[in-house]
Homo-oligomer: 300 residues x 2
């Protein structure tokens, strides 16, 4: 279906009336009135890198929205708005992509307030989302750089197998979980897992001026990881988990476990070290350099 | 040059220290504290549509930034931040694209606070920019929908010839002009010209619940338009002018002309009508339907 920008904009404008006091799709910019510190992320997914050329266009749109919203979850933020940049070849069904994207945003009460479309030789869906701290958390936004030496590293849910199983197209942004975590002062730092724990945990540690020690045997493995494979490596390296990685004051871990109101399990998978460097415990519980690498969306 | 996201991010983070009180590149989101109503736009340019495969990568980056900033100019806004989504094949020099983009943002005092990079089969540079109303204009943002019947339609600068001359790669976002216009209550509506006056003026009119009558013979033609061509049609339809289209209370036009402190000329090129529809005056000063079309970045 060729991309008819004017009719796509008309359809989106009708489907996404701007919230009161907000100017949505159709002007040079959208306009809203922020209530406090605001966070924003841009997340792009590309044909051949994050989905295949034969993927369901609705799921492509859904994934683009969910991956972007996961960045808001990773700050403990409440979504305020989204804008999409759709670069779409004629062979893709732009309306179906936008339908999947719109539905996912709506499911998380995030208004679609703006966007741009252009033709292109390959499909790229880039989604900008912005949000604010939850008033119940006094507007607090959780960054990566708040971790302290001795903090436990905790993950939500289970990891691995996302690409092989196709589950990577339907990630579940942990928005409610992120907001809840932001309300607790003993949660020091937060990020979402997109490149795999082995790649992402060192990023949180480095941002916090710490090192990290990971416990591969403690990493919760998703059912989608085949039992015949190296399940631990899958869980640490597959990527596209979109679960949360939390740095928690160690003494408060029992409190966190008791109070946690969500279905996904929480698992301690390591801790932050005072000195720089990324380490793991091997099966003999010796501390060895972290040699596993996360998933990289390699360039062609 | 293959796209190495980690080293690109390191270079960008070093080149773009976040302003005080702001969290820039490197976390799941950037964070800033808005001072009032905020406007945001996403603008994408794609290989083969907005630039050719042999274009200078620095100019591609520059154009992406300038085209996005032009949307802030079109609201009379002051830039607050930008985030880039770069979908880049290995044959393009990602660092040179980002250098051109960064320099253009810096020229307009707009910090680069976030972004995402991915491999792709063709180059798309999508730039999100956001800004606030100027305190000197009491934070006023100029929308398209404020025009009133009888308002004069005025353009800044000269139009046409942008694509043929290559000038489309170096547009000048009219940020200072937009901010100045927002300070004057007799300016009712504003937009920037990207698809050509013949396409864009009816959009402003429609958003304002009006029609429009354009005066092709009054449209200021850029020097880049060859004299042997139909210069008026070029000026009205070529597109990518990135000049401003202003709806001004007719009685205040002399005041505006006298006070205008900028080099670009202002020209009256039509007015808003109480009834819907797009019209133009032919050479015999008869009112005829506006049949000219603007430039469309067609899909392949």
């Amino acid at each position: 279906m060729p991309l008819d920008e004017a009719s796509l904009i008309r359809a989106l404008t009708a489907a996404h009336p701007a919230p009161p006091g907000t100017l949505g799709i159709g002007d040079d910019c959208c306009v809203w009135t922020p209530k406090g510190p605001t966070c924003l992320s841009v997340d792009a997914i590309a044909e051949g890198r994050h989905f295949t050329a034969d993927a369901d266009p609705r799921l492509v749109g859904r994934k683009a929205a969910a991956a972007a919203l996961s960045d808001l979850a990773a700050m403990g933020a409440v979504p305020v708005g989204a804008a999409v940049s759709l670069s779409c070849p004629g062979r893709w069904d732009a309306a179906a992509i936008m339908a999947g994207l719109s539905a996912e945003l709506a499911r998380h009460a995030c208004p679609l307030l703006g966007g741009d479309t252009t033709g292109a030789d390959s499909l790229v869906v880039s989604v900008t989302v912005w949000g604010e701290g939850d008033p119940a958390a006094q507007g607090r936004l959780l960054r990566r750089d708040g971790g302290k030496p001795g903090d436990l590293l905790v993950v939500s849910g289970t990891l691995g197998g996302s690409l092989r199983s196709g589950r990577h197209l339907t990630p579940e942004p942990r928005l409610a979980e992120g907001r809840w975590l932001a309300r607790h002062g003993f949660v020091h730092a937060l990020m979402d897992l997109s490149d795999g724990l082995a790649a992402d945990a060192p990023k949180l540690a480095e941002a916090s001026g710490c090192g990290c020690l990971l416990l591969p045997e403690q990493v919760p493995v998703h059912d989608d990881v085949p039992q015949i494979s190296d399940t631990v490596t899958s869980a640490m390296c597959d990527g596209e988990d979109y679960e949360l990685l939390v740095a928690v004051e160690a003494s408060q871990w029992p409190t966190l476990q008791l109070a946690w109101p969500f279905d996904e399990p929480l698992s301690v998978i390591g801790w932050l070290l005072p000195e720089a460097g990324a380490w793991m415990e091997d099966r003999q519980q010796r501390r060895v350099p972290l040699v596993m690498r996360g998933y990289e969306h390699r360039d062609g």
